[in-house]
């Protein structure tokens, strides 16, 4: 038994009987004035940024919206990969698969739209070579995010939430990112560029690539559902 557990006798209070004396609850402050104030500040900063550079203003709004959704939804990419093993629950896993399916459709629409008009397809610099480096990197990232208690977006979100342990994580997150960026040229030349880079629409056509990716995601979704049923049976 861990040292920080304590055992006491039980009396009946609440629907689950419990006996431990809870510290008297602090009276909660009304947070609505803070919220309104914060909203005004966010809009003001967004306005100032937008005047200097419209793109930066857009980033500001998107960043805050993304953080808000992540926090309120308790969305966690780490948990989506870890909890099937730990709890047998795959609700977050399925949420991530749905998000992938939605972004697949959205990105295909953006890229196909540019392709049809004969414009350069946006985001093609993200089509990078696949090799063993991808697998090893993903594995290392997986270990890191379970130990740190959050992936990149989850860590940032909990930093804002005030979970102080992850302020430490942020320091090393930044250190690691800078270090990685510093040596990236060497890694790219020696390891990464050896693999083939595949853009699915080049291989299967636009419709084929979209259908294939959605089918794979559907398969994973069904698998996740079956896995949860089997685990909780």
């Amino acid at each position: 038994m861990p040292e920080n557990t304590q055992t006491t006798a039980t009396s009946s209070t609440g629907s689950i009987r419990r006996s431990s004396t809870r510290a008297p609850r602090k009276k909660k402050k009304n947070m609505i004035p803070f919220g309104v104030g914060l909203l005004v500040i966010i809009v003001l900063i967004g306005f100032l940024l937008g005047q200097k550079n419209a793109t930066v203003g857009l980033f500001w709004i998107f960043g805050i919206s993304f953080g808000f959704v992540l926090q309120k939804a308790r969305f966690c990419f780490t948990a989506s990969m870890r909890d099937p093993y730990l709890t047998g629950g795959t609700s977050l896993t399925r949420a991530v698969i749905i998000a992938f399916a939605l972004t697949t459709i959205g990105f295909t629409a953006i890229k196909y739209g540019a392709y049809v008009k004969g414009l350069p397809i946006p985001g093609m610099s993200y089509v990078v070579p696949v090799s063993a480096a991808t697998v090893i990197g993903a594995f290392l990232f997986g270990i890191g995010m379970v130990i740190a208690g959050g992936c990149a977006s989850g860590t940032l979100m909990r930093n804002g939430e005030g979970f102080m342990m992850q302020w430490l994580v942020l320091v090393f997150f930044i250190t690691g990112s800078l270090w990685g960026a510093h040596d990236f040229g060497w890694w790219k030349e020696v390891f990464i560029s050896n693999g083939p880079s595949v853009f699915l629409p080049d291989v299967f056509g636009w419709f084929g690539a979209l259908a294939l990716q959605l089918l794979v995601l559907l398969g994973l979704f069904v698998f996740a559902t079956k896995y949860e049923q089997k685990k909780s049976a």
């Binding site: 861990p2 006491t8 609850r25 342990m165």
Partner: protein, 76 residues
Amino acid sequence: MAKEIVIDSLGEACPVPLVKAQNAIKEMEIGDVLIVQIDHSCAMKNLPEWARKDGHNVEVEEVDDGEWEVIIEKAK
């Protein structure tokens, strides 16, 4: 006599609270109550999810801003 066990997991990141709770509940009798104190929002989701899936009675109480007690009654 049913026992009550309190785990202080304040300041511990997910999945530590969950694993501690899973270990603690293995050594408890049916009817015993486990209280896990957490302040990591992620544990607020997976602790109750696991405990309900395992068939226990679960209650979550927000004791302070961003601080929760997950109360689990071992049911099987």
